[in-house]
Amino acid sequence: MKVGCYIGGIYPRSERLIEATRRNPPNLAEICRRDKKRVIDLQVKAGLTYISDPLLDWDDMLRPYLALKGVEQGALNRIFEQNTFYRMPLVVERVEWVEPITLKHLSVDLLPKSRDWKVDLPDPYTFAQLSDNRYYKDHRDLVLDLAKALAKEAETLQQRFKLIQINAPSICSIRSREELDSAYEALKTVTKGLSAKTYLHLYFGDPTPILNDLLDFPVDGLGLDLVNTEIPKGLRFGKMGLAAGCVDAGNTRMEKPKKVAEELKSVVDAVEPREVYVCPNYDLEYVPRAYANRKVRRLSKIAKILEEAM
């Protein structure tokens, strides 16, 4: 079995970029691009399967999408159980897509032409859960309108990006059939007809009680936080791929590649996914830059050891 690896979400800014952003010099955009280039080069050098924009200029994963019609910037709120905060999207009228958003916030020209690219997109159900809805009477209507808007975004991305990572932390805590159906319908709208591979990433919660249902979701693979959760025994992934979040983005302690690869092999042997990617359990922005860099290098080492063992 071929084993790949990639990173997702927001990467930590360098101290230089943090300081420059504070000072806001006229060449800030250029400083940011140089910093992005370093992270992209790191991914290439480390041998990641898919290369992504590290989103160093994103303040949080939903911020660019405040540009959707009907959405404004709301209060500061905690990102799940992290000590990092995001601006809640404040939904004040019907949500509609007007023009491409994600592409406008990426430095596509910095990505290497010789490699495959990946991109992040929020899951509509999660987007709705993390919003302050002051317009829709029925929450499900908000989820579905967001799905339509994000489907337009996905359409604009699929030609350039081979993999779309759909970030869905809120799905982890779904425990009712109705909510699960709502999340499923929304995802179906987003992924319908896409040529790009789609992986649904689940973190900041425990999706294992609903994992059996998630295996039928309309995506090519599931990204799971294997640092904090354990896949229940007896589950088979079958046609579904696995993005194994086995490098801890929540701690500076460095993983031992051989040990992690061994543990991962037993997981892969048990769940038999169609394919495997080695990943951090979530965005590496929760550790300082130097530690994130070291963890990226470990990803490909783990993937290599695992591939040899398979």
């Binding site: 930590p12 504070r22 303040d59 709120n77 799940f80 000590n83 905060f85 530690y291």
Partner: protein
């Protein structure tokens, strides 16, 4: 305090450029830096008093930040690097690489300076054990619980005792991480109680930016050994005047105190520390009166910003604090 709606700050104020230039300049000697810190602390005390606040401190003039200052002065921590708080606001996060140890009363100098110069009541902010643990990467202890309790018993408790021996009468334990992990609420409460055990002072707790509007605080917080909860509300509120539920949507978490029969004081956040717009006194008045209505006793209401004002310019911070005091005056008049 007998006065209705006593006003207080939470802690930090932005450090002026002139001060940072001196502190960061490697050519400047330690004596001159100490003098600059004294100057800023003195200036902050006077400015806070001029705003009309009843409880003051020094704007945390000597602390680079509420977490970093502590981990630099407690054994067992090693700074790792910058991690985002929000937007481009970052804090330096530390790794716990050894047993945490109390190296001495790291807030004593600043407290003695404030006590000497303040004309109003002094309330000292102290970062709590749970937050210190939660904001650190634990690479040493078997469990987070071991780390939290070691900090509570062997670092924070001796510090609080040293501060009360020096005359501290009101201590605000800052625990912004308290509601981060609802399943750890019992750990937070027990560690807090360990930290304040035998401490002879009025203990308040400051918690902010709870992801679930403080719902996870209760019922465990009923056991918290403090006499006041100082919380953030304005951040979620509307700017409309009024005492109706819709206008005061940001203050609904106060109902939890009623729901759980908690009769303690609440320090009510009435100005948002993350926006530059200056809340008018009339809006602040309405927020105070609404809080008093829900808590069913105006004597339980203290008035403060949502959090420390270090993210705002000093001009904005002082304008907000001035209006906060004017709003409290209006609320007092309304209660007559």
């Amino acid at each position: 305090m007998d006065k209705l709606y006593p006003t207080q700050e939470i802690g930090s104020l932005r450090k002026p450029e002139w001060f940072l230039k001196i502190i960061r300049d490697k050519r400047v000697g330690e004596g001159a830096k100490r003098a600059a810190r004294d100057d800023l602390a003195y200036l902050n005390i006077r400015l806070l008093e001029d705003c009309g606040l009843d409880y003051v401190y020094d704007g945390e003039a000597r602390r680079p930040e509420m977490y970093e200052y502590v981990v630099k002065n407690v054994g067992g921590f090693k700074l790792a690097g910058w991690v985002r708080s929000f937007d481009n606001r970052y804090y330096r996060k530390a790794r716990v690489v050894d047993k945490v140890t109390y190296l001495g009363p790291y807030h004593l100098d600043e407290f003695e300076f404030v006590a000497q110069h303040a004309r109003r009541m002094v309330k000292i902010p102290v970062t709590g054990p749970y937050t210190l643990a939660d904001w650190s990467y634990n690479e040493y202890y078997q469990s987070k619980e071991d780390l939290v309790f070691d900090l509570a018993k062997n670092v924070i408790r001796p510090l609080l005792r040293d501060l009360t021996s020096a005359g501290a009468k009101v201590i605000q334990i800052d625990e912004p991480a308290a509601t981060t992990h609802p399943k750890e609420m019992r750990m937070f409460v027990e560690a807090f109680n360990e930290a304040v055990a035998g401490v002879d002072a009025k203990i308040t707790v400051h918690i902010c930016y709870s992801g679930n509007q403080y719902r996870s605080l209760f019922p465990e917080a009923l056991d918290l050994k403090c006499s006041q909860f100082t919380l953030e509300f304005a951040n979620r509120d509307t700017a409309r005047l009024g005492l109706d539920k819709e206008s005061r949507v940001g203050y609904q978490a106060l109902n939890l105190f009623k729901e759980y029969g908690d009769k303690r004081e609440v320090g009510v956040g009435v100005v948002d520390v993350h926006v530059d717009s200056i809340e008018p006194p009339e809006l602040i008045r309405d927020r105070i009166l609404y809080a008093a209505k829900i808590l069913e006793d105006p004597k339980r209401v203290y008035v403060n910003p949502d959090c420390g004002l270090r993210t705002r310019s000093r001009a904005v911070a002082f304008a907000k604090l001035r209006n906060l005091c004017l709003g409290a005056e209006l609320a007092r008049s309304a209660n007559l």
